[in-house]
């Protein structure tokens, strides 16, 4: 299958100048400035096939936006090679950008003062989209994103969620086969998020649009992406199926017991003898959580023993959420390419 994105040993260093304090310092800075080099992206390699939806995740400052900016031709890499849609993004920028769509959640792509519709018309000229193509494609986009009523309002009068839907429509105006989304759902309410997710799924199915998206909301990733690439301090620490991430590091369930009377850890611990399980106290009164492996007999055994020994008012079974898995990975980091 076609590789839409090929990245090899991609690196981006930023020189960051620091100024010395005081007048004397300023004077010395004139001749010889202090600087340090920050490597935002450190020799990463990956490939993305046509039609994939890839979640690009990592903590703040991990280097996600920097990578996306190199993939879209905004920044020139310090080292390494990038081939996207068969082109070198920063070498043939103008030709290249016609083949991609970009949304930066933090920044508007539309003109602030003019009506959304006028922005679309300008972009239509800029991307050289014919009237027929525009009609055929955009009528549908406008419909699915439900932005028809917003078209004659200036962008600065739109709410964040309204604006974001318009941004997405603008990025798709030329129906690009590849879409980069940097935090497209930041600050949006659940309904708008759902609308956007459904829309992305739909265009992915309909046009086989490849989508690379970053987000801090893992439910976005769960809803959309089979594959995740996880970045930490500029390096890829995981690249694979979201499902594998779950089964490798998300094994286990949490059983939450609400006891009728006060219990102590000393009373509870003997119950877990020979079982692969552990107790943690919850913040709520008389609530304890048993962390157990995800095996039927262990779960039944724990519940059986607890119920036999104590009076309880409530039991809940939780799966460990992706968010927790990822938080654990972020917190505990990686050693030798393995996640602990």
């Amino acid at each position: 299958m076609d590789q839409v994105i090929q990245v090899k040993d991609l690196r981006k260093d930023f020189k960051s100048h620091s100024s010395r304090p005081g007048l004397k310092g300023a004077f010395r800075d004139l001749f010889n400035r202090n600087y340090s080099i920050i490597s935002a992206v450190k020799d990463i390699s990956f490939e993305v096939k046509q039609g994939e939806m890839v979640g690009y995740i990592g903590e703040n400052g991990a280097g996600k936006s920097t990578s996306i900016k190199m993939l879209t031709g905004i920044l020139t890499p310090t080292d390494g090679t990038v081939t996207v849609n068969g082109m070198n993004p920063h070498k043939e920028r103008e030709k290249f950008v016609s083949s991609i769509g970009v949304v930066f959640g933090q920044r508007s792509q539309l003109w602030w003062d003019i009506a959304v519709q006028e922005s679309f018309k300008l972009l239509k000229k800029v991307y050289n989209v014919s009237d027929e193509d525009y009609e055929a494609h955009m009528t549908h986009v406008i419909d699915s994103l439900d932005i028809g009523p917003l078209l004659d309002k200036p962008v600065r009068k739109l709410s964040l969620g309204q604006r974001m839907r318009c941004e997405l429509a603008a990025a798709l105006l030329h129906n690009p086969p590849l879409l980069f989304l940097d935090e497209p759902t930041i600050g949006l309410d659940v309904l708008v998020k759902l609308k956007i997710r459904n829309f992305l799924k739909e265009i992915n199915e309909k046009y086989k649009t490849t989508i690379l998206l970053t987000t801090h909301d893992l439910t976005d990733i769960e809803a959309l992406c089979e594959r995740v690439i996880m970045l930490d301090e500029g390096q890829i620490i995981y690249d694979g199926k979201l499902a594998n991430l779950r089964s490798n590091w998300g094994e286990g369930k949490q059983i939450e017991f609400q006891f009728a009377e006060e219990v102590t850890k000393d009373e509870l611990s003997p119950l877990m003898k020979e079982l692969d399980a552990e107790w943690t106290a919850s913040e709520r009164k008389n609530v304890w959580v048993a962390n157990v492996v995800n095996e039927e007999h262990v779960i039944s055994e724990v519940i059986g023993r607890v119920v036999a020994a104590h009076r309880i008012t409530d039991v809940k079974i939780h799966e460990i959420s992706t968010e927790e898995i990822i938080r654990n990975i972020y917190e505990e980091g990686v050693v030798d390419g393995k996640i602990y």
């Binding site: 930023f14 936006s65 920097t66 900016k69 879209t72 031709g73 905004i74 920044l75 020139t76 920063h90 920028r93 103008e94 030709k95 950008v97 016609s98 991609i100 970009v102 930066f104 933090q106 920044r107 508007s108 792509q109 003062d113 003019i114 006028e118 018309k121 300008l122 972009l123 000229k125 800029v126 991307y127 050289n128």
Partner: protein
């Protein structure tokens, strides 16, 4: 072709925005014209006291000033990107520009254009006509074409210099006060350069060639044959500087660092 279509689309969008956002377009135009009229009176009063300036008569100096206003108006309408650093580099707006399939400088020119500035051409031409009549200048059929060529050359000199200055922001995003200084230096091009010493003359001709915006091209229309070589260098220097500035801009774009969010 595509660029022309985009250009006209932007212009019509610009007009539309001005029409909706300005309460009274007519008042706006009137005040622009009034501003130019005051400017005109001011020029005549200021130059009224000058008699001769190393071999240039008062009317010749007024003529040069009038000519200068025309390319300067074009520059002001399209290339006045003095806030490029703050707007596009520090705020990171350049990201957006760079994701669109049109040359980045062209997009910025279209976004920042101020068509009102073109009214200055009327003042400039009025000043030239006034001075020209007093000097009894004769015009041949090809002079208007040469005029257009000279004006474009002069506008490109200004544009080239300011595009180069804007390009500095790609390397260093700290604020500089170069731009206001450059407006001042630009003013020296309005006067006959032979009133300055050699060093300044050399600078205004070859380094910051502001002399090609005023005195050199005007020398042609004033029939100052000793300056004709410089006069006809105007379009050459203009195009040369402008292309050099685009080259520097293009290199600068590859150095763009973006703003961290």
């Amino acid at each position: 072709m595509k660029h022309a279509a985009i250009f006209f689309h932007y212009v019509s969008q610009y007009m539309k925005t001005r029409l909706t956002y300005r309460v009274d377009m007519l008042m706006e135009i009137m005040s622009d014209l009034l501003f130019q009229a005051v400017n005109l009176v001011f020029i005549l009063v200021v130059f009224g006291h000058t008699q001769f300036l190393s071999g240039w008569s008062r009317d010749e100096i007024i003529f040069i000033y009038g000519f200068f206003l025309v390319p300067f108006a074009i520059f002001g309408a399209f290339f006045n990107i003095w806030d490029f650093n703050e707007r596009y580099i520090v705020k990171g707006e350049m990201d957006r520009i760079l994701t669109r399939p049109v040359h980045s400088l062209f997009q910025i020119i279209l976004e920042r254009m101020e068509l009102e500035s073109l009214f200055g051409m009327i003042t400039g031409i009025a000043v030239m006509v006034y001075a020209g009549m007093r000097l009894d200048l004769s015009i041949s059929w090809y002079d208007p074409f040469i005029f257009i060529l000279m004006v474009i050359g002069g506008a490109f000199v200004y544009a080239g210099i300011f595009v180069m200055l804007a390009s500095i922001s790609f390397w260093s995003d700290s604020r500089t006060s170069i731009i206001p200084m450059m407006y001042n230096i630009g003013n020296y091009g309005r006067y006959p350069v032979d009133i300055y010493n050699k060093v300044i003359r050399f600078i205004l001709t070859w380094i910051l060639p502001f002399a090609f915006v005023g005195v050199y091209p005007s020398a042609y229309f004033l029939g100052r044959e000793d300056w004709y070589v410089y006069a006809f260098l105007t379009p050459v220097v203009g195009f040369g500087f402008f292309f050099l500035s685009i080259f520097i801009w293009n290199v600068g774009v590859t150095k763009y660092r973006g703003a961290g969010n």
